[in-house]
Amino acid sequence: MKDLEKFEKYIKGELEEGDLWEFKKSLEVDASLAAEFEVYKATLSPHAQKKHQLIDELNTIRQSKTHKNINFGWQRITAVAAGIVILLGTGIGLIRMQHNASYQELYTQYFIAESASFNVRSATNSLEQPVLDGMQFYELHNYDAAIEMFEKAPNNLMGKLYSGLSMMELGDFDGAIHKFDDIINHNDNLFVDQAEWYQSLCFLRTGKRSKAIEKFQKIADDNGVYKTKALKILKEIKKE
């Protein structure tokens, strides 16, 4: 990069008239400078940042639809198998297939991504730097980088919570269950309620019905903040 400072000033509209004219002229005659400026604009400008967010959002939408399609694809295969099994006298496969689809719908309905900003604001000032950095990556939907940061503070419980949430966003539900387990087993901390709730959703999402019911029931019995939601979701699961 030849003139990073000049790029920055140009984007911010801070170049003086003479410099501005010279800069524009350089862009016309110097192809490598123009190429560098294009990459700079695509990387380091407020508009570029918003476009990167847009790309992330589109990819998240596609991933969620593709996962659904893959699951439905498998369910079709399961349905054929179940049909054969039914012919042989049992309908268990088909019932399980229907359950899995509705569990995913319930998960989508109840999983609302946690904002990092509230917890950061309400946390003590003693938060470790990698956790703060991880939170920033989490807020930017850069979940891989967020997890990498949280790993640098392996004993930090807030880091574990958001690491689990990042894993959920990436579809690694078993990894997330493990992270939430650490928080729940530690017991004496502010994040147990959240960890139990999100872990239950992971069990639901992965089709572990009895485990999910057991966990949601515990939340419902404990009178915590997720009690009402847990009661509602239990009603839905038990309808199946």
Partner: protein
């Protein structure tokens, strides 16, 4: 749905894209992605090509609606597919060394906007490549870029990332961007971009 309804619906979609409205983005994906994928797959492309083109077309629409004097007199669907087809033809023509495609696919676009849209298309492809290659950068570079985009003061970035001076931040950022540029410059898609350049 009448033409007027169509235009009103189009305005809603464009506003939604402009504001990253998840519901509208979902709607656009569900309504148009399969159509676009069909179009591309029937023309010797893959679903992965279709996904790149879909993202690029949305990115171009996004830039277009952020234009100061933006106005759109054609339904969203026509505009979107015009841009998407153009992006696909450019990509396909280059990859297949095919020269029979013409620019007739830009017919729905107001004449004065065609050149602007070509700039947006070029910039969008670079943005997508940047997004793709940024993931390969070291966590430190990613942090540096993210913090810079959050418009933190250079001094504060230096403090947060333990650099000794503002100049060290500039130097490191320059190194990160140079790395990114070298990857992008070697990408065949970037090398194919000459078609979007002004005559």
């Amino acid at each position: 749905m009448g033409e007027r309804d169509n235009i009103i619906r189009s305005a809603e979609i464009l506003e939604g894209i402009k504001n990253h409205d998840r519901e509208i983005l979902n709607f656009v994906y569900e309504t148009y992605f399969n159509q676009l994928a069909d179009f591309i797959v029937k023309r010797r492309g893959t679903e992965s090509d279709a996904w790149d083109v879909f993202q690029d077309a949305i990115g171009v629409v996004y830039d277009y609606v952020h234009k100061k004097d933006f106005s759109l007199d054609v339904p969203f669907q026509a505009f979107f597919f015009t841009v998407a087809r153009q992006l696909w033809f450019q990509r396909f023509r280059k990859s297949q060394k095919e020269t029979n495609f013409t620019n007739q696919t830009m017919e729905h676009i107001p004449y004065e906007d065609v050149e602007t849209l070509r700039d947006y298309m070029r910039q969008q492809v670079i943005t997508r490549l940047t997004h793709q290659y940024m993931k390969k950068l070291s966590p430190n570079c990613i942090k540096l870029i993210k913090f810079s985009n959050m418009e933190l003061e250079t001094g504060l970035i230096a403090k947060k990332l333990n650099y000794l001076s503002n100049q060290a931040v500039y130097n490191q950022r320059r190194k990160c961007l140079r790395k990114l540029l070298s990857w992008i410059e070697n990408d065949p898609e970037y090398q194919n971009l000459t078609d979007y350049e002004r005559p």
